[in-house]
């Protein structure tokens, strides 16, 4: 289960992610982002309530990062320890902006 709540503020988009970002839910996030990213200059993914991430979730984050690098910036906030560990072992801490 993944709950996605988005808030748009001009060219800034904030996504609150709650639950699990895995093989089953990653396509939902991908679709949600794909529909909305046009014109967005600042993308914030709030992961306070994200409990779990697997490679399927990482794939969405990486492809989104690639899109956003061309049109603005993307940052992740409130990442918890277990998710951060996955970012660390995969080198994602070096390629994503994590606050």
């Amino acid at each position: 289960m993944l709950n996605i709540t988005k808030t748009m503020d001009g060219s800034k988009a904030v996504y609150n992610l709650e639950g699990r970002l895995d093989t089953i839910t990653a396509p939902d996030l991908e679709k949600s982002l794909g529909d909305e990213l046009g014109g967005v200059k600042e993308l914030v993914l709030d992961m306070e309530k994200l409990e779990y991430i697997s490679s399927a979730g990482l794939r969405v984050l990486l492809s989104t990062q690639k899109v956003m690098a061309k049109q603005g910036e993307m940052k992740l906030i409130h990442v918890n320890d277990v998710v951060m560990e996955i970012f660390e072992v995969t080198g994602f801490t070096d390629i994503l902006t994590i606050e």
Binding site: T23, I24, Y52, S54, S55, L62, V82, E85, T90
Partner: protein, 525 residues
């Protein structure tokens, strides 16, 4: 004097002491004339006293008739024989006290008898078979064996006469059967399930020295062979083969493990009705449990109430709850898999039992037999083995089953008190490996995968094994991704197996017996 089956019985009456010993000896010798080699039994039902002169008569008699036994000895005479060591030299059987069970509460009923409470502290099991002395001795032996092997049970301390049958007397202080607790205190159902399964696991983990108990496999095999006459040839052969393929198992099974045979005495749980004790695979036990809670009353739900005192819905709740607790999973697929195996043996037994009781001559019974047969034939078609592994789940390699696989693994991790961080790491690794199988093993066809979870103690290691019959493929051979590349240089994907390798302590692959076998290992400390 009476003679039966080459045994000569001589009745002794009144007192035997130095006044009449010589005369008694003379009389016995006369009666035994020409009976060299016979077995001799001295019936002491009417013997009130025996002195040392009388004992010497018996000793001399024993020299000529080594099989000599003394039966129906009253307690006064028994005490003399016991003190003088005669009870160790020869078979001395006590006289049986007569007990009435009229108006007594029935507290249990098993295959071979009915148990009544005769007073606050004692119960008597009255055997159906009038000539039950051998059954009683057998049950006493098995109960003793179970007790020695660590199973809490009651051992009978006396054999009594009840009407025309025999009974064995047990001490059972203020005890209630689990059936009674469930019927009268429904809020204790979950507690009963836990205790019932705790005892079941204890029984099944008890190793029995070879030859001490009958092998249940032999019994079930004889049922299967009986069924060959009543099933289509192919199905009959398959049934026999399924039973034959069950490996020998020298762990204990109770054989009639339902809630009337479990007693709560003060705070102690006791197992009773030990005459069906055997060794064998747990599936044989589950089959008899299935019949007790489901099979016998499947077509007439009122039967369960009559037998156990609680209703059909409660019985179903209890049975499924107990099976889930026993298997350590709430996974419906797993529970059904094991239940279906139990049903194969359960129906085999029900059909055989009904046919042997003349069921084919009775329209109502014939309908039941037809129903059971139909179910049995359906189950036989989809079953390849009767044994099961509680910690193994087989399902289609489909992404939709990911959650089920993770939940199944998670239950076993929780049972092992896995710390949250390791649980999350294992969770991710399980997803990566399972999804890898989903994507590559059978694509574009469909196929099954098996996931097995093992937790070892000291050191606490969890090993998760994935097996599939797909195309041979070693995912570990792939080069690790370069995790130092910048975002725009990194390919999207290729991280799954790498994550699994990184978060687990050891990941190995082999291809064996036509299967991809991928093993994940993690130390939980």
């Amino acid at each position: 004097m009476t003679e039966m089956n080459n045994e000569v019985t001589i009745a002794l009456k009144g007192r035997i002491d130095s006044n009449n010993a010589a005369k008694v000896e003379e009389e016995i010798r006369t009666q035994l004339e020409g009976k060299n080699g016979a077995s001799v039994c001295l019936n002491a039902a009417d013997l009130q006293y025996i002195s040392s002169a009388g004992l010497r008569v018996i000793l001399r008699l024993k020299k000529n008739y080594p099989d000599l036994r003394i039966s129906e000895v009253c307690s006064e005479v028994y005490e003399i024989l016991d003190m003088t060591g005669f009870t160790e030299m020869m078979t001395v059987e006590k006289a049986y006290r007569v007990v009435s069970v009229e108006g007594c509460e029935e507290i249990g009923r098993g295959a071979n008898g009915t148990i009544y409470r005769i007073d606050q502290d004692n119960v008597v099991k009255v055997y159906n078979n009038a000539d039950a002395l051998d059954d009683i001795r057998h049950e006493r032996e098995t109960a003793k064996l179970a007790l020695i092997l660590g199973i809490p049970t009651a051992i009978s301390y006396d054999i009594v006469r009840v009407n025309d049958s025999y009974g064995s007397v047990f001490e059972l202080l203020n005890a209630s059967s689990f059936s009674k607790i469930i019927s009268t205190q429904p809020e204790k159902l979950d507690w009963c399930i836990k205790e019932y399964v705790r005892m079941l696991k204890k029984i099944h983990s008890t190793e029995v020295p070879a030859g001490k108990l009958p092998d249940m496999k032999e019994t079930v095999l004889s049922w299967a062979q009986f069924m060959k006459d009543w099933l289509p040839e192919e199905a009959g052969n398959k049934l026999v083969k399924l039973v034959e393929d069950v490996p020998h198992n020298d762990h204990m099974i109770h054989g009639d493990y339902h809630t009337k045979n479990l007693e709560l005495q003060n705070d102690e749980v006791l197992l009773i009705d030990m005459d069906t004790l055997a060794v064998g695979d747990p599936i044989f036990e589950l089959a008899s449990m299935y019949n007790a809670f489901v099979g016998f009353s499947e077509l007439d739900h009122s039967i369960i109430k009559e037998f156990q005192g609680f209703d059909w819905d409660t019985a179903q709740k209890f049975w499924h709850g107990a099976l889930a607790e026993y298997l350590g999973t709430e996974n419906k697929r797993k529970i059904k898999e094991v239940e279906d195996k139990a049903r194969i043996i359960g129906y085999t037994r029900l059909i055989r039992r009904s046919i042997r009781r003349g069921g084919m001559d009775n329209e109502k019974e014939r309908q039941k037999i037809e129903h059971w047969k139909k179910e049995l034939l359906e189950l036989l078609e989809t079953t390849e083995k009767l044994t099961f592994h509680p910690n193994e789940l087989e399902l289609e390699a489909d992404a939709d089953n990911l959650e089920e696989v993770q939940a199944f693994v998670g239950e076993h991790l929780d049972a092992a008190d896995c710390p949250p961080r390791a649980r999350m790491q294992i969770d991710v690794a399980v997803e990566e490996i399972f999804i890898n199988i989903v994507s590559y093993a059978y694509s574009p066809e469909k196929g099954n995968a098996v996931v097995r979870v093992e937790v070892s103690e000291d050191p606490v290691n969890v090993i998760i094994t994935f097996l599939d019959h797909g195309i041979p493929y070693d995912p570990l051979k792939r080069d690790d991704p370069d995790v130092t590349l910048a975002a725009d240089e990194r390919p999207v994907g290729g991280l799954g197996i790498f994550i699994a390798k990184t978060v687990m302590d050891d990941v190995t692959y082999e291809y064996k017996d036509g299967q991809n076998i991928l093993e994940l290992k993690k130390n939980l400390k």
